[in-house]
Symmetry: C2
Subunit: 360 residues, 2 copies
Amino acid sequence: MGRVSVPRPPRSADRWAVVMAGGSGTRFWPRSRRLLPKQLLPVLGSRSLLQETVERLRGLVPPSQILIVTHQDHASAVRRQLPTLPRRNILSEPIARNTAPCLALAALEIERRAPGATFVSVPADHAIADAREFRATLLEALAWAAAEPVAVTIGIRPAAPETGYGYIQLGSRLAGRTARVRAFVEKPNAARARKFVSSGTYLWNSGMFAWRTATILELLDRLLPQVTQPLRAALAKPARARPRALERAYGRIPSISIDYGVLEHARDVLVVAGDFGWSDVGSWAALAALEVAGSRGHVVPVDAKGAVVFGNGRLVAVVGVEDVIVVDTPDAILVCHRDRAQDVRQVVDELTRRGLASYL
Amino acid sequence: MGRVSVPRPPRSADRWAVVMAGGSGTRFWPRSRRLLPKQLLPVLGSRSLLQETVERLRGLVPPSQILIVTHQDHASAVRRQLPTLPRRNILSEPIARNTAPCLALAALEIERRAPGATFVSVPADHAIADAREFRATLLEALAWAAAEPVAVTIGIRPAAPETGYGYIQLGSRLAGRTARVRAFVEKPNAARARKFVSSGTYLWNSGMFAWRTATILELLDRLLPQVTQPLRAALAKPARARPRALERAYGRIPSISIDYGVLEHARDVLVVAGDFGWSDVGSWAALAALEVAGSRGHVVPVDAKGAVVFGNGRLVAVVGVEDVIVVDTPDAILVCHRDRAQDVRQVVDELTRRGLASYL
């Protein structure tokens, strides 16, 4: 593969998109609950992250060719949030098994409906500032994926030495925004992260991919047969028997990510460098950093530098406490230091331990 | 005056008590509001501080001889909280003018009803652990006040080098818990406060006093005629005309404390040392220190040493923030560092500035 120019993208009829909406979003407690995970919340405005993700994909992919994969507990909420999407485009998993089974299920469904298609897969719960550049980047990824039998990942030009993301080391440049992947790198420590960013040859791993259906299924069948075989068997069943069969299949297949299970072992992977104001909105602190107007109600700070309030109509006063995040909801209040936003998960664990199910 | 034993207390018919309930209690925002100041709040349990104060005085003074002085805006709430108290025992001030006018008004009323009486005056918003010892101390103060034409103050054995209280330097000991006052000392700095406490010859000034009505009125007429003259004139008016007359009088008289205006200038003052677990409950931090079960609803702390929650039924989770006080109410939430509890007043100022009257 020695192209000097970006290949022509597949025609719109052959473009599909898969939105991975399986997250449980405990890190956004108390706003996120078991039945209302982060991707279903209006985190950034009036529409949920899922609704914004689907909206962003329109114009790149025909709505009839956008699939949502979600946990069965959330399927009805997803349908309510996306009324214009065909019901059959919402695939529900009986058990969350991370991204590899999720993408395998989607790929098998696309293969069944549209042999020869190429698709992008994107998480449902990311924030993207520049939707136009986002679509241009994904279109380039679709073009490479349609032209070559390889996985194409979207890398993000790092804005800071984040230790919370995996990184992608760039290999030889191809054309446009695209290069070969030299290596996938696990979450680094602060020192390595700084090296990565200053080197200019590392990108954040965004968890977004493009590939021909045939390509990902070939990779999955080779690298994760324990995932694809039970799924193929279940989907081969008559429609009536399929739900129970899928449930049994998911009971057997391992929980494994597409990065760890496939991409890190794939010989040939391309990366398209994206620069469209990306955030995975991984915690209240990340959301606070986006400085979204997430608050309803008055806020009165007194010597409260760095305090961020996600209000719910009530007035919130913060006195002499810096870098604190306050989240108000009808039945629960969170007061959390910005540096400890990841540990909101511990609150959820404690609520589970105490059996306070009504707050979960 | 060279007694070697505590004089006999006045007979119960001659004992009166004045409860000073004029506070506006902005320091307990958001629980305390303009129409619901601290003394009317169930700060320590199911009953308000005022109700507990009156309850404490029963057994020392006949209920018919307990007067409450409050701001006219709070008079009806006071009546509701003290249904068994004769209505005429609730005196309302048209304008808050600190403790000297408050006690002058009460003394003139007692003089009118019961010439020759002796009374104790106590703030409505203090916490007292040992009511029995409290009554014994006040009875001793009543005894000295009835026997001698002097002001008797209640001093508190200091539990810590507080810089938020005025101190009383002890003079020659008389008998029982009682000594002469050598000097009243303004709020000291930390170093002096430590000296005071270690010396063992200083007490906290509790703002509680005992005196014969004739004694305090003589002191007031001599030292603060600008307070007593307008009041005497107003009260001399026929009942119908009295409210307007009082309003005009209060418009003219200065705002001044009994400590600053009278006691610091009185020649002869006695002090009875009290040791009954006293707190002026001056702020949320002071209340937190009392470790009262002021909270309704679940609390989930994660690395939140020293955090105190005054809940309101909602669950409150605190993550990675130490020494924080969280106060929940139906329409407002306060998040405040324990060392900054005094600055809750600034929130009230800001709300006033912004014209957010509904939160005041």
